[in-house]
C-alpha cells in the first residue's frame, strides 16, 4: 500500500473506531509489523472497523493476549491487528442456569474469579492471562480435556463479525439448543481465519469441592500404557490422565486427577492407586496437589512443539514410533500430555537440528494409525524444512471442504491469510 492509501485507510478506521494507532515492532505478527492496531470497545465498533477495513483491502489479525500469535505459519499479510482487550466484560453470569456470557477480550483469570464466587467454573485448563476469544480461536485444551472436552465442547453460543463487517450469532444462552447450524464449533480452533469472535457463551460446571492426584511410575512401557488406558476407562471417572516420559525408551510416569466431594475423592483415590499399582511393590501415590511435571496448556517456548493425536489403544505404538524417530535423528524429546485422551506433545529447543526429519519419521511410522502429527509452532528454518514432509499440518482430511468454507466466509482472503492450517 502507498503512503496515501495508508492515510486514507487510517482515516476510515479512525472513523469506525476511536482507538486506532500505528503498529510498532512490538505488534509484529510473524515478523510483519501491522500498519494499524485498533481496539474496539464493543461489537458495533468491531463491526464498523471490519467494514472499514474491507473497504481498503486490509488484512486483519485478531489479538487477545497474544500468547499464541506465533503458532501456525505466519500470516501472508498483516495490515491491521484488532486488539480485543478493551472488550473484557463478563456480560452475564446466570449461575442458576450454569451459563456465562463473556466478551472475547475477557481474561480467563478474571472470569474464573467471578464464577468461583458462585461456586462454578469453565472447566478448561487455561492460564489466567488467556482471553475467552483466544481460548476458543486456538481450540487448545489441557489435562481436563479427558472429562470435559476442549473449548468447543463447552461453547453454547458465539457472536462473530464477518470479514465484511456483518455481525452474526449462533447458539444462544441455553445449554440445550439445536436451532440452526452451530457456528461456534466451526469457529473453535479457527485461529482468526473465519471471522472476529466478539462474544462467547460457555456452559459451566460446579467447582469441585476437593481433588486428588494419583501418580505412579512404570519402567515397563507396556505396563505404563496399560495403566493409562485402565485409568482413563475406569468408572472412577478421572478428570485427567496425564503421561510424561522424559526420555525415549525411558520410564513412564502416569498422573490421574480425581475431582468431586471430599469423601468421594478420598475413596476413589485409594482405588485408583490400587488400579495403577504396577504389578509390583509400590502402589500409586496420592497427593492433594499436582506433581511437579503436571502440565498446563501446551507451550512452544520459542522452539518447536509437535502434537500427536491417536486412539488410546495405539499409545504403545506411538511411543515406539517416537523411539524409532529418536533413533533415526539422534534427537530425544520428552513426550508428555493427555495420553488418556489420545494426545501427546513433544518440544524441541529452537537450535535443535533434524526436527523436520523427526516429524517426517513419525508421520511415516504412524501413517496407518488413525490420528495426526501436527507441528503447532516452529521457528522459520524448521517450517521451511517441513515442506518436504507434509508441512506443519501433514495430511488434512476434507481440505477441499475447509477451503470452500473459508472462501464463503472470507472471499477476499483478508482474515489472517495463509495462516491455517498453512494451506487455507
Amino acid at each position: 500500500m502507498t503512503a496515501t492509501d495508508l492515510t486514507v485507510a487510517g482515516k476510515a478506521l479512525a472513523g469506525a473506531c476511536p482507538r486506532v494507532r500505528a503498529g510498532t515492532d512490538a505488534d509484529a505478527v510473524g515478523g510483519l509489523v501491522p500498519a494499524f492496531v485498533a481496539s474496539p470497545a464493543d461489537t458495533a465498533e468491531a463491526s464498523a472497523l471490519l467494514r472499514a477495513a474491507a473497504g481498503h483491502d486490509l488484512a486483519i489479525v485478531p489479538r487477545g493476549s497474544g500468547s499464541r500469535l506465533d503458532w501456525g505459519p505466519p500470516p501472508a499479510r498483516c495490515d491491521l491487528v484488532v486488539d480485543m482487550l478493551r472488550m473484557d466484560a463478563v456480560t452475564e453470569h446466570a449461575a442458576g442456569d450454569l451459563v456465562a456470557r463473556v466478551q472475547a477480550g475477557a481474561r480467563m483469570g478474571a472470569v474464573a474469579a467471578v464464577l468461583a464466587s458462585a461456586g462454578q467454573e469453565i472447566a478448561l485448563d487455561v492460564p489466567a492471562g488467556a482471553t475467552a476469544g483466544g481460548v476458543v480461536a486456538s481450540g487448545l485444551a489441557g489435562p481436563r480435556r479427558l472429562r470435559y472436552g476442549s473449548p468447543r465442547d463447552l461453547l453454547i453460543g458465539i457472536t462473530i463479525v464477518r470479514a465484511d463487517g456483518t455481525v452474526a450469532k449462533s447458539g444462544g444462552k441455553v445449554v440445550k439448543n439445536v436451532a440452526g447450524y452451530d457456528l461456534g464449533k466451526l469457529f473453535a480452533g479457527s485461529a482468526g481465519t473465519l471471522g472476529l469472535i466478539t462474544e462467547v457463551t460457555f456452559r459451566l460446571h460446579p467447582l469441585p469441592a476437593a481433588r486428588r492426584f494419583v501418580t505412579a511410575e512404570f519402567a515397563d512401557p507396556a505396563a505404563g500404557c496399560g495403566a493409562v488406558a485402565a485409568a482413563a476407562n475406569s468408572p472412577l471417572v478421572p478428570s485427567a490422565v496425564e503421561l510424561t516420559r522424559p526420555v525415549p525408551g525411558g520410564p513412564i510416569r502416569v498422573g490421574v486427577l480425581l475431582e468431586g466431594s471430599a469423601d468421594g475423592v478420598a475413596a476413589r483415590a485409594e482405588r485408583m492407586a490400587e488400579l495403577l499399582r504396577p504389578g509390583g511393590p509400590g502402589a500409586g501415590e496420592i497427593a492433594g496437589s499436582p506433581p511437579p511435571w503436571w502440565p498446563g496448556l501446551p507451550d512452544g517456548g520459542g522452539g518447536t512443539l509437535i502434537r500427536v493425536s491417536f486412539w488410546v489403544s495405539a499409545l504403545g505404538r506411538v511411543l515406539e514410533a517416537v523411539d524409532a524417530a529418536a533413533g533415526e535423528t539422534g534427537l530425544s524429546p520428552a513426550a508428555h500430555g493427555s495420553a488418556g485422551a489420545g494426545v501427546l506433545y513433544m518440544g524441541f529447543p529452537p537450535e535443535a537440528d533434524g526436527v523436520a526429519s523427526f516429524v517426517g519419521a513419525l508421520r511415516r511410522t504412524l501413517g496407518r494409525e488413525r490420528g495426526s502429527v501436527v507441528v503447532l509452532t516452529a521457528p522459520a528454518p524448521v517450517r521451511d524444512a517441513l515442506a518436504a514432509c507434509g508441512g506443519m499440518a501433514g495430511r488434512v482430511p476434507s481440505l477441499g471442504l475447509m477451503r470452500a468454507v473459508k472462501d464463503q466466509f472470507d472471499p477476499g482472503h483478508r482474515l489472517a491469510p495463509g495462516r491455517f492450517p498453512e494451506v487455507i
Binding site: V99, K173, K176, N177, V237, V396
Partner: protein
C-alpha cells in the same frame, strides 16, 4: 405453443428417469418406483407434513450412497436422506420431485475398540443397538433419546440428539469423533479422525446437527462411555410444579449435576398411569425424577443431599431405587408420556422449546394461562435440569377450529420461549416444522451467515433443500440484471416477451 418445456426438464420426471441408473447402483430390489409403496415413505415421526418422493432407493454401502448422490447431482435432482423415520420435525420428509435415500439397510456395527472406547457403526444402526454392542465391554453410548429403540445413529447425527441425560453427559456432538460423509457432490470424505482432536476446521462439529442438509453420513465413529458404577433414582411427588421447581433450583444450587432431572405435571401423570400403570403417587400435582450416576462414593453423597432437598421443598412422598428393575419401573411412566397422552386426546402437537432453567416457573405459568385462554389442554413433560420443555398440546383433530387453535397455541408457546432467551428446539430439530420460527430467533444476518456453510457444502442446493432455513440463500449468484441469455431461452425452449 410458445414456452413448452421439453419432457424430462420437470424435476419429478428427471428423478423418475433415474430409476434405471439407481437400479444399476443399488440393485433393482432396492429401488422403489411403485406409487403405493412410495407413499409409505411420505412422512417421518411428524405426520402433519407429508410429501411423496419421486423415487426411493435403499443403498447398502458408502459407495452406493455416493453413486446415488452423484447421479442426483448430475441430473440436478434434489435428494433427502432418511434413517429410521422417527424424527419429530419433518427432517426426513421427502422432496416431492426428488429421491429419498433410505439408510436402514446400512446397520452394521463395524468395529469396537474398547481400549480406545470407540465404535465404528453404519448410519442405520439404532441408538440402543450401539449401547448393546458396547455392553459386553462395560461401556455404553451416552446420548439416549427416548426413541432409542428405533431411532438411527445417522438420524441422531443429523439432529444432534440429546435425550434425558444430556445435561450431564452431553449431546451427540460430544460423543461422535469422526464421520465418513458423502458430500452433496457425491464424494466420500472423512470429517475428523476419531481422536477428538480437530485438524483444521472442526467441520465435524459444524456437520452434526445440520439436519441432513450438508451431506449424508455413511460411517460414524462414536465415543463410548464406561458404565457408571452406581445409578440411583429418586422420585418425589409435589402438590405443584412450583414446588418441584424449587427442589430443582436447590439441587443445582448445591453444586450437583444429576444425570437426569425430569418433571411431569398432573395431566401427563394421569396419561402415563392409564397407559403403563406406573403407580406414581396418587393426586400429585407434579412428579420429579432425579437420576444420579457415577462412582459409588460420589453418588452416595449426592443422594443424601438430593433426598434432603426434595423433602425440604415439601415433597408429599419420596421414593428411591438403585436396582435396574425398580429404576426401569419409575422411568416407564416418564418414557410413556408422549404416547400415553394419545389416550387423553385424539391428536396432539408436541413442542420442544427450551428456556433458561431459572425461567421455568414463569414460563410454565404463562403456558398455563395461554392454555386456559385458548381452551386447549396442555400436558407438560420436561427436562427440568436444562429447561427443555415438551408441552403436549391436546386437541380433537375432527374439529378444524380446534386444530387451528392448537397450532396458534403452539406458536405462542415458542414465542414465549424465545422471549425468555431460550430456543425453539432443544433436541427435535427445526426441519420443516419450525423453519418459520427461525427469523424470530435469529436475525437475517445470522441466518445468512449460517447458510455460508450450506453454500460451501452444497452450492447446488440439492441436499435436503427446504429444511431448517425459511429462505434459501443463493450461493454465488451475482445479484442484478442477467448478463447472459436465460438457459431455457438459449436452449430454444422458450422466448421472453
Amino acid at each position: 405453443m410458445a414456452g413448452t418445456k421439453a419432457a424430462g426438464t420437470k424435476p419429478g420426471t428427471r428423478a423418475a428417469a433415474l430409476a434405471g441408473q439407481m437400479m444399476a447402483i443399488c440393485g433393482a430390489a432396492n429401488v422403489i418406483t411403485d406409487p403405493l409403496e412410495l407413499r409409505t415413505y411420505e412422512c417421518d415421526g411428524l405426520t402433519s407434513h407429508r410429501a411423496t418422493p419421486a423415487l426411493v432407493v435403499l443403498p447398502a454401502t458408502a459407495e452406493e450412497v455416493a453413486g446415488v448422490v452423484r447421479a442426483c447431482a448430475a441430473a440436478d435432482v434434489p435428494f433427502v436422506a432418511r434413517g429410521s423415520g422417527t424424527g419429530l420435525s419433518g427432517g426426513a420428509v421427502p422432496h416431492s420431485e426428488g429421491v429419498l435415500i433410505v439408510l436402514s439397510r446400512m446397520r452394521k456395527v463395524l468395529e469396537i475398540d474398547p481400549v480406545a472406547r470407540r465404535a465404528v457403526v453404519e448410519p442405520g444402526v439404532t441408538n440402543l443397538a450401539v449401547t448393546e454392542a458396547a455392553r459386553p465391554f462395560g461401556l455404553f453410548y451416552a446420548p439416549d433419546p427416548s426413541s432409542q429403540v428405533v431411532c438411527s445413529i445417522g438420524g441422531n447425527v443429523a439432529e444432534n440428539s440429546g435425550g434425558a441425560h444430556c445435561l450431564k453427559h452431553g449431546f451427540t456432538v460430544n460423543h461422535v469423533t469422526a464421520l465418513e460423509v458423502v458430500t452433496p457432490a457425491g464424494e466420500v470424505t472423512w470429517l475428523g479422525d476419531g481422536t477428538g482432536v480437530a485438524c483444521g476446521y472442526d467441520l465435524l462439529g459444524g456437520f452434526i446437527g445440520s439436519e441432513g442438509t450438508l451431506g449424508i453420513v455413511t460411517k460414524i465413529v462414536v465415543k463410548l462411555t464406561p458404565v457408571p458404577e452406581a445409578v440411583h433414582l429418586v422420585l418425589a411427588a409435589y402438590s405443584s410444579l412450583e414446588q418441584g421447581g424449587r427442589a430443582v433450583t436447590d439441587i443445582i444450587g448445591a453444586g450437583i449435576v444429576p444425570a437426569a432431572i425430569e418433571m411431569m405435571d398432573a395431566l401427563s401423570i394421569e396419561a402415563a398411569e392409564a397407559a403403563v400403570h406406573c403407580n406414581y403417587p396418587a393426586g400429585a400435582g407434579a412428579v420429579l425424577i432425579v437420576e444420579l450416576d457415577g462412582p459409588a462414593a460420589e453418588v452416595e453423597a449426592e443422594l443424601a443431599t438430593v433426598r434432603s432437598i426434595c423433602a425440604r421443598a415439601g415433597a408429599q412422598e419420596i421414593r428411591a431405587a438403585d436396582d435396574p428393575v425398580q429404576r426401569a419401573a419409575i422411568w416407564a411412566g416418564r418414557k410413556s408420556a408422549f404416547a400415553a397422552v394419545g389416550r387423553l386426546s385424539p391428536a396432539y402437537i408436541v413442542q420442544d422449546g427450551v428456556v433458561p432453567r431459572t425461567a421455568l416457573g414463569d414460563v410454565l405459568a404463562r403456558i398455563s394461562a395461554l392454555s386456559e385462554e385458548a381452551g386447549i389442554r396442555v400436558a407438560n413433560v420436561f427436562h427440568a435440569g436444562d429447561g427443555n420443555l415438551h408441552p403436549l398440546v391436546l386437541y380433537n383433530d375432527a374439529v378444524p377450529a380446534e386444530a387451528e387453535a392448537a397450532e396458534v397455541l403452539s406458536g405462542a408457546i415458542l414465542d414465549t420461549c424465545i422471549a425468555y432467551g431460550g430456543s425453539i428446539t432443544g433436541e427435535h430439530g427445526v426441519g420443516v416444522d419450525k423453519s418459520r420460527y427461525m427469523p424470530k430467533m435469529f436475525s437475517a444476518a445470522d441466518l445468512d451467515t449460517m447458510q455460508l456453510v450450506r453454500c460451501a457444502f452444497d452450492p447446488a442446493s440439492l441436499c435436503n433443500p427446504g429444511k431448517v432455513f425459511p429462505t434459501p440463500r443463493l450461493c454465488g449468484e451475482v445479484p442484478g440484471p442477467r448478463r447472459a441469455p436465460h438457459p431455457i431461452v438459449a436452449a430454444g425452449q422458450a422466448e421472453i416477451f
